[in-house]
């Protein structure tokens, strides 16, 4: 029997269809990395592992995964300025780097906001990885880290530049081709940088004053590219509950602007079809929009009561993961917008990523020796995960803090059994 009255909330639980086999990582404010897996066609996700010891000074602010089949790597940026490169299969720390550039500068003053692990530069050798990091004050840098088995990191090439002298960066994203990066923040208009030349190629302009003459200050809280192949279109969410679509080949002002509820847009994620975006805000509302028309496709109803900090879209399966301040990781079905499962994780979560290489079958042990696992996670905005586990020093790429949770899916298939 369904609702007694049309307007009352549903009182009888709908059978949840269960979760497809997935593996995801969450990162929280105590620096813990929790591994959540769901096995079988209709499994229930459970926490299978926890890496690291609870310590609030090790709060994870950003994370990035390269979930390639061989030598996957997970990069984590912590509040104190440490970057750690971890083996996503078992949480072993490969490298830990204290990535504060200026030793005189207090790490706490310039905490990382972004980290991106480049995928493309890892193919050749597994001995080094390249990371893009960004601090809140606008200091971006790309470093290559040598990951040697002796567990010592040597920083190789190191490019750094100032993204913005004034204002705080609070969101970043690296595009699919890993040539461009977006940065935006409080008082910082969204700008795109060419990573090879470290030059700014485009800056947004604020929308014209509205008819009432009300001016709302610039404050971008989340950003993502619309598709992996095209760096020219991207979506940004503001503190003023607006979702804006920008096209750099068209104009500097937003092409389309949507208003969503009343709290800041804390996370945006794109779907692979390039037309749908998922938006999460400060009061826990998650919705999907069709960006071509600007229409709200629907909200994800699942009793989420806390701000959504990170959204991750699985690259293959039609599932979406969201986590946030209510300490739950929720897995949703993309098509039906139904909650597949909610896992309680006890701490405020800051990021989540998927491991897309996960399968249920028993595979011959993979030998991801992630020496040089530099996982580039461009698109996956690694949801800052507080990983407690061996943090590989992933140099935080200063990516525009994408509020989106990248569904980084890790492919640790081999290990699982």
């Amino acid at each position: 029997e369904k609702n007694k009255a049309g307007t009352m909330p549903r009182t009888i639980a709908v059978e949840s269809p269960g979760c497809p086999p997935i593996r995801a990582f969450t990162f929280d404010v105590l620096g813990l990395v929790k591994v959540i897996e769901s096995r079988g066609k209709q499994g229930t996700p459970k926490v299978v592992d926890r890496w690291g010891e609870p310590d609030s000074s090790k709060c994870i602010v950003a994370a990035s995964i390269d979930d390639c089949k061989f030598h996957p790597l997970l990069a984590v940026a912590r509040k104190g300025g440490q970057i750690e490169l971890l083996n996503p299969l078992n949480g072993d720390l490969h490298v830990a780097i204290n990535a504060v550039d200026n030793p005189a500068m207090e790490p706490q003053e310039h905490p990382f906001v972004g980290l991106h692990l480049f995928k493309k530069l890892r193919m050749d050798s597994c001995r080094s990885c390249t990371l893009l990091t960004c601090t809140g004050k606008g200091q971006a840098s790309i470093r290559t880290v040598e990951v040697s088995p002796a567990d010592s990191a040597s920083l190789a090439s190191h490019k750094s530049w100032i993204v913005s002298a004034a204002g705080d960066i609070s969101c970043y994203k690296v595009d699919g081709s890993e040539n461009y990066a977006l940065f935006g923040g409080k008082g910082v208009e969204v700008n795109i940088w060419d990573l090879d030349q470290c030059s700014k190629i485009w800056t947004a302009k604020p929308p014209p004053k509205n008819s009432l003459g009300i001016f709302s200050p610039t404050w971008f809280t989340s950003v993502t590219f619309l598709s992996k192949d095209d760096h020219r279109k991207f979506v940004a969410g503001t503190n003023n509950h607006q979702v804006r679509l920008y096209d750099i080949s068209a104009q500097r002002r937003p092409v389309m602007s949507l208003d969503f509820r009343e709290t800041p847009i804390k996370a945006v994620a794109e779907d692979e079809d390039g037309n749908t975006i998922y938006v999460g805000n400060g009061s826990g509302d998650l919705a999907s929009f069709d960006i071509r028309t600007g229409k709200l496709l629907g909200c994800f109803i699942g009793k989420c009561s806390g701000s959504i900090r990170s959204i991750a879209r699985h690259p293959e399966l039609p599932v979406l993961a969201s986590c946030g301040l209510d300490s739950y990781l929720r897995i949703w079905d993309v098509k039906s917008r139904q909650l597949l499962s909610a896992v309680f994780l006890k701490q405020h979560l800051t990021a989540t990523v998927f491991d897309s290489n996960f399968t249920d079958e028993v595979n011959p042990p993979s030998n991801e020796e992630q020496d040089a696992i530099e996982i580039q996670r461009d698109e996956e905005a690694m949801v800052p995960v507080k990983r407690k586990k061996a943090s590989k020093d992933s140099e935080g790429h200063k990516k525009q803090k994408a509020k989106k949770k990248s569904k980084k899916i890790k492919g640790h298939v081999a290990e699982e059994p």
């Binding site: 826990g284 009561s305 006890k346």
Partner: protein
């Protein structure tokens, strides 16, 4: 509804089960419950809801209810007689079944704090209240109101000032709440309480007067960057309206926080705890209670006295002098005495303490306590991360109507 009823006539037994699952206000529900006992008769018995004639239908329903009532009375009589007999014969009487309450049948909640959770303790150390609760900072509370009505000092505020030690009242003026937060931070306040009232009272109103405004809500902001809790306030009774009220002293009160079991509840309990000084003054015999039941937090403020059990109540009522704290007899009464309980301990020993509280209330001679200070009920509406920020705030917990789908689910 009508359609369903018609359909049910044809279904017979299934119809009755449908009835049962349906609303309780349906007379058929009770009937079907009754009918299911002898399922074989179900098809033949006429459900009251099937009768179209209202008078006849209500008569049949009334008769059924009366029958049920008589049966229940008979059962109770039989049970009491059996117990009495068993006691006389010296046997063990039958154990009474525990009644099923909403608290008993509360939905299993995975967010309930567990005693062996290291993450919980580390989280506590790292949260915004730990410096106050570890006594590195003394609580200093700033109380203010919402705009436009702080002209005449309201009674509620003065009572709050007497309840919370080291509390200061500042008139609101027209300052922005964010500016007030900045001001309070500069002056080293640890919490900010905003008493919010919006509605003007109707022409005749006795309860929660506030110079013409009804007090609606309480916003507690932890400082410097603590969370903001927004409570709805109801059932406010001022001290002057309580019969036989006592007068509070200025000793540090003991704090009792009951039943805050989930992680969210734990956090709210710590927020409330951070308003009061950590070390109570037991000699002051003053106790402030926040009792959480079904997501409503009941606030009470008492003064208690000790009394020996043998002494008759008549002497002791109101006689504060009978303090047996220092005496050896206090040993016996340690169960009744309200200790200063930290929330973590409370959770593990909740049964013991609650029974102690019940003992307190029942055995007046044991511990007559005078209620002083206001009495009110709070309900959490939202918990915001960071200080008050109506536009840019992100919520740790906000109440959404979609959460109310079960009567047995509570969040605190």
């Amino acid at each position: 509804m009508g359609g369903k009823r018609k359909g049910r006539e044809n279904k017979g037994l299934e119809g009755e089960e449908d009835n049962m699952a349906d609303g309780g206000y349906r007379s058929s529900a009770s009937n079907s419950g009754h009918d299911n006992v002898d399922g074989s008769n179900a098809k033949r018995q006429l459900l009251p809801s099937m009768i179209k004639n209202k008078e006849k239908r209500s008569a049949v329903h009334a008769k059924l209810k009366h029958q049920k009532k008589l049966e229940k009375r008979k059962k109770i009589k039989a049970r009491d007689a059996a117990e009495k007999r068993a006691l006389e014969l010296g046997e063990e009487p039958l154990v009474r079944k525990t009644p099923r309450t909403i608290e008993n049948t509360r939905e299993l909640d995975e967010t309930i704090c567990k005693p062996d959770d290291d993450e919980l303790f580390v989280g506590n150390d790292a949260d915004e209240f730990s410096s106050i609760l570890k006594q590195e900072q003394t609580p200093k509370v700033l109380i203010t109101t919402c705009r436009f009505n702080s002209t005449r000092g309201p009674a509620f505020i003065t009572e709050l000032l007497s309840v919370i030690p080291n509390a200061h009242y500042y008139k609101r003026g027209t300052y922005d709440l964010k500016k007030i937060v900045e001001y309070a931070k500069k002056r080293d306040f640890t919490s900010l309480i905003v008493v919010h009232s919006n509605r003007r009272e109707p022409a005749v109103s006795i309860l929660h007067e506030f110079d013409g405004f009804l007090i609606d809500a309480l916003v507690i902001i932890g400082l410097p960057d603590g969370p903001t809790a927004h409570f709805k306030l109801s059932r406010l009774v001022l001290r002057k309206d309580i019969k036989n009220h006592g007068n509070p002293t200025s000793h540090e009160p003991e704090l009792v926080l009951n039943n805050f079991t989930t992680r969210l509840g734990h956090r709210i309990a710590r927020l409330l705890q951070s308003l009061f000084p950590v070390e109570p003054n037991f000699r002051g015999r003053r106790v402030v209670t926040f009792h959480n039941q079904r997501d409503f937090i009941f606030f009470r403020h008492h003064r208690y006295i000790f009394e020996t059990k043998e002494v008759k109540q008549a002497d002791s009522k109101g006689d504060v002098a009978k303090v047996s704290k220092g005496e050896k007899k206090s040993q016996e009464k340690t169960i009744v005495r309200l200790q200063y309980v930290i929330v973590e301990v409370l959770m593990w020993q909740i049964d013991g303490l609650q029974s102690a509280l019940i003992g307190l209330e029942k055995h007046q001679s044991l511990m007559p306590n005078k209620e002083c200070g206001p009495r009110f009920t709070l309900k959490l509406i939202s918990l915001q991360h960071g200080t008050f920020d109506s536009k840019g705030g992100e919520y740790e917990w906000v109440h959404k109507p979609e959460m109310d789908t079960s009567r047995r689910r509570f969040f605190l």
